[in-house]
């Protein structure tokens, strides 16, 4: 497990990592900017009945349908209604474009790589492989996430398989 973390950390590019920071409840999170396709304002999410459970619904992004994952639900936090600051971070997981709902997006930070520490043992464990480490910046603690790991292996498999089942195009 520790090796995986080490590897993840090394994947972060260069001496300084550019990090998009966002908030969930009172916690601040960050993702490597290379994982972010774009950030959009909250739009209406169409609920898809009987869709895989980790999926909130779909949105229309310039004519393309994109599945949405609510990070609060994902992390077991209480749900809140969307506000003016709610954002969707659009990212690619495997070969799929996925939108991730967060409370708000703060800024793009230049985080020196030596300021990122491995996640403390307490929070690192099974089911938290998506935490790459904790970045320190002045008084702030930024939880570094690997968005591609945010959904579990099984779910990712499910997501990957989804395109393969596509029928005749209808």
């Amino acid at each position: 497990m520790a090796d995986v973390k080490q590897e993840n950390k090394q994947q972060l590019s260069g001496e300084v990592v550019q990090v998009v920071s966002f908030k969930l409840a009172t916690e601040e999170y960050g993702v490597d900017i290379s994982q972010v396709q774009e950030i959009i304002r909250m739009v209406e999410i169409t609920h898809v009945p009987r869709a895989p459970r980790f999926m909130e619904g779909v949105i229309n992004l310039r004519g393309q349908l994109i599945p949405i994952i609510d990070l609060r639900t994902r992390f077991g936090m209480p749900r809140i209604d969307a506000s003016k600051s709610t954002r969707i971070i659009v990212t690619d997981i495997g070969s799929k474009r996925v939108g991730i709902v967060v409370d708000s997006v703060s800024e793009v930070l230049n985080l020196p790589i030596e300021n990122i520490e491995d996640a403390p043992e307490m929070i690192a464990g099974v089911g938290t492989e998506y935490i790459q480490g904790v970045g320190k910046m002045a008084e702030r603690l930024i939880i570094m996430l690997d968005l591609t790991m945010v959904i579990s292996g099984e779910e990712k498999q499910q997501l990957e398989q989804i395109g393969d089942q596509a029928a005749v195009g209808v």
Partner: protein, 669 residues
């Protein structure tokens, strides 16, 4: 040719497309050639065209190091060369050999690009081919012109012993001649790519002294002699269709480019977005105009109105123009997705020929309407059902030549394949002038297979319908062509899946006509929008029978399942809100019902309200969220919101599988 010079994957993809096209053309040429052999009049241009196609396949495969493809293409090219130089007479056996070679070549191409297993019998074939050609290479020294006797493969095999030495000598001479010619040609003008063997290693299956005798000159050594390293020596995939190639066939074809369908879809998405924004701009323009005309507000506006009024008018004009252009763009892109159905028809002459030959029939296939356009996705799917139909026509429809003669018909049976537009549908007809469907035979077989009972009184139409029952076959002997009992039911199912309609007309002794009606596109449909709880759902209009409001007093239950009686028929109800677990409350007084039907079975979908009809663009949802029971796709509405499309097919079969109807009927409601 190092790998850094080109993107190999891209080349392979190009190679695949090109090879497919060329193999198709080889097929067409061979068919024409065969026709020529039968009628005794051959156009030498056909052999030249064959030769060029094989040569291009050889060159491209050589570039990519597909030595097996290259090897076989080379051998076939040799055969064509003998033919075009009149050193070998054009005979039926020669054409047959070429046909077999073409099929093996197809197999090798597919195995080279990793799509299929390598075909069997390539080595044996090449061996035979060598012996066959060697006869003529040998005799050509003695006999000039078109006097060479025909030889069959079997003779060639018997000839084996003597073939070796003289064979090699003849070939060496030929190779030297070719090389000299090639160099002369490339020095003069690199126009017609004369065969320059580009072997880097001997082909495994090649006989002794065949290829090893060639100077193993890599392409590079030839190139510097050319004025420019053009495609003459190596038909390079970089310049796929160079003008200098002098290829007459291509010049007669429209200029086309290949585009990945995904790129088109992306474009279509963007246009959809444009349409939505156009609507918004029009709305803004309308609002502004209304404000301007509002006299009560004018007093407050005062001076500003003088400036804003003309602007508002400009905006309105602009919006109108934008609307027109957007519509045209949308239409054009939809048209781009359309391809001529000829793409599918092209492979049928060969199929009919092969089946006819195997079954000892004489058949001509008459194709018309090959230029009729329809959606690419449908074109891709319609090929297989048509193939089954044609096989059936040859196998079961057309009588044997002697039989036909006895009946006073032409020995050669005719199958016509015709496509045309009718409204927003395409009609494809497959008709033969054979014996028609033997209703007695079908009935007897139906009895034997237990599909009907002897006291069933069936109309002719009902008997014909039996052939669409899974497992049904009238063929006495199961042939390798058709009659395995997997045919007509699959055909019908495939057509239904494409939202098509399938019809048969048959006249005893005169023939059978299958008619297929397909929508032009699967991408746009008419839909009825309904509201359920707080979401809008779309129901494809082609499956909607009617929609109505029904009082709860008219809803009865059968074993806990809600049903209504509609014109004497018991129709089970499916509450969409509950089916999709959307929550919401049941209305205690009434239900809003959309009656949908599929193949005679009906289900009433309970919704909250009807929201009108609309033309919608279907987007597959399955590659976004997986296949969802009851949902067949999604669409984006004019205001940008998403509406899910209800899969009537799965809802209807679901309701019926759960036995609602069976139970309802049993209890005599």
């Amino acid at each position: 040719m190092s790998d850094e010079l080109f993107n190999r994957e891209e080349f392979i993809s190009y190679f695949r497309d090109e090879a497919e096209e060329l193999l198709q053309q080889i097929d067409a040429d061979l068919l024409r050639l065969e026709e020529g052999v039968n009628s005794g009049e051959t156009d030498p241009e056909i052999i030249n065209s064959l030769f060029r196609a094989l040569h291009t396949v050889k060159g491209s495969s050589g570039m990519l190091g597909f030595v097996e493809v290259q090897g076989l293409a080379h051998k076939l090219e040799n055969l064509c060369d003998l033919l075009r130089k009149d050193r070998m007479p054009l005979s039926e056996s020669a054409v047959d050999i070429l046909f077999t070679g073409r099929d093996l070549l197809t197999g090798l191409v597919q195995s080279a690009i990793g799509e299929e297993e390598a075909p069997h019998g390539v080595a044996e074939y090449i061996d035979k081919l060598d012996k066959y050609t060697s006869i003529y290479e040998e005799t050509s020294h003695v006999i000039e012109g078109r006097t060479g006797q025909e030889h069959s493969f079997e003779e060639a095999a018997a000839h084996e012993e003597q073939a070796s030495d003289a064979d090699v000598a003849a070939f060496e001479a030929e190779v030297e001649r070719l090389l000299a010619q090639a160099q002369a040609a490339s020095a003069a003008a690199p126009i017609e790519p004369t065969p320059v063997p580009v072997f880097e290693e001997p082909v495994a299956a090649a006989p002794e002294g065949f290829i090893k005798e060639l100077p193993p000159e890599p392409v590079e050594t030839i190139k510097p002699e050319l004025p420019k390293p053009v495609a003459a020596a190596t038909p390079a995939p970089v310049a796929p269709k160079p003008a200098a190639n002098g290829d007459q066939r291509r010049s007669s074809i429209h200029q086309t480019i290949r585009v990945d369908i995904e790129r088109l879809d992306a474009l279509l998405n963007l246009v959809g977005e444009l349409v939505i924004n156009r609507t918004r701009i029009s709305d803004i323009a309308n609002t502004l105009e209304r404000l301007m005309n509002d006299k009560s507000g004018a007093a407050a506006g005062g001076a500003a109105q003088g400036i804003i009024a003309p602007l508002a008018k400009d905006l309105a004009d602009s919006a109108a123009l934008l609307a027109r252009t957007t519509n045209e763009i949308q239409e054009s892109i939809m048209k781009v997705r359309m391809v001529p159905i000829g793409q599918v028809f092209d492979r049928f002459p060969r199929l009919v020929r092969d089946v006819a030959k195997a079954r000892g029939k004489e058949v001509q296939l008459v194709i018309s309407g090959a230029e009729t356009d329809l959606d690419k996705t449908i074109v891709d799917e319609v090929g297989e059902p048509l193939m089954h139909l044609l096989r059936n026509n040859v196998d079961h429809g057309i009588e044997a030549p002697d039989e036909r003669e006895r009946l006073g018909k032409a020995r050669v049976g005719t199958i016509s394949l015709n496509a045309y537009h009718e409204g927003n549908q395409i009609i494809i007809e497959v008709a033969d002038d054979g014996g028609g469907i033997n209703l007695e035979k079908v009935r007897a077989r139906g009895l034997k297979q237990g599909l009907i009972s002897s006291d069933d009184r069936l109309s002719d139409r009902e008997i014909v319908d039996l052939i669409f029952t899974p497992g049904f076959s009238t063929a006495e002997v199961v042939s390798d062509v058709s009659g395995r009992g997997v045919g007509m039911d699959v055909v019908k199912r495939n057509i239904t899946r494409l939202k098509g309609v399938f019809d048969v007309e048959t006249v005893s002794g005169q023939g059978t006509r299958f008619t297929i009606k397909l929508p032009l596109t699967l991408a746009i449909i008419q839909a009825l929008l309904v509201r359920v709880v707080d979401e809008l759902y779309a129901i494809p209009l082609d499956s909607v029978i009617e929609s109505q409001r029904v009082e709860m007093t008219d809803v009865r239950t059968v074993h806990g399942n809600e049903v209504i009686t509609l014109r004497g028929q018991v129709v089970p109800l499916v509450r969409i809100a509950e089916f999709f677990e959307l929550g919401g409350q049941r209305d205690p007084d009434k239900v809003m019902i959309v009656i949908v039907g599929l193949q005679g079975r009906q289900v009433g979908l309970v919704v909250d309200s009807f929201e009108g009809e609309q033309e919608i663009v279907i987007k597959p949802l399955s590659d976004v969220v997986g296949r969802i029971p009851g949902i067949s796709g999604a669409t984006i509405l004019g205001n940008g919101s998403i509406s899910l499309i209800i899969d009537v097919h799965s809802l209807v079969s679901d309701a019926h599988v759960s036995g609602k109807v069976a139970r309802a009927e049993f209890s005599g409601v």
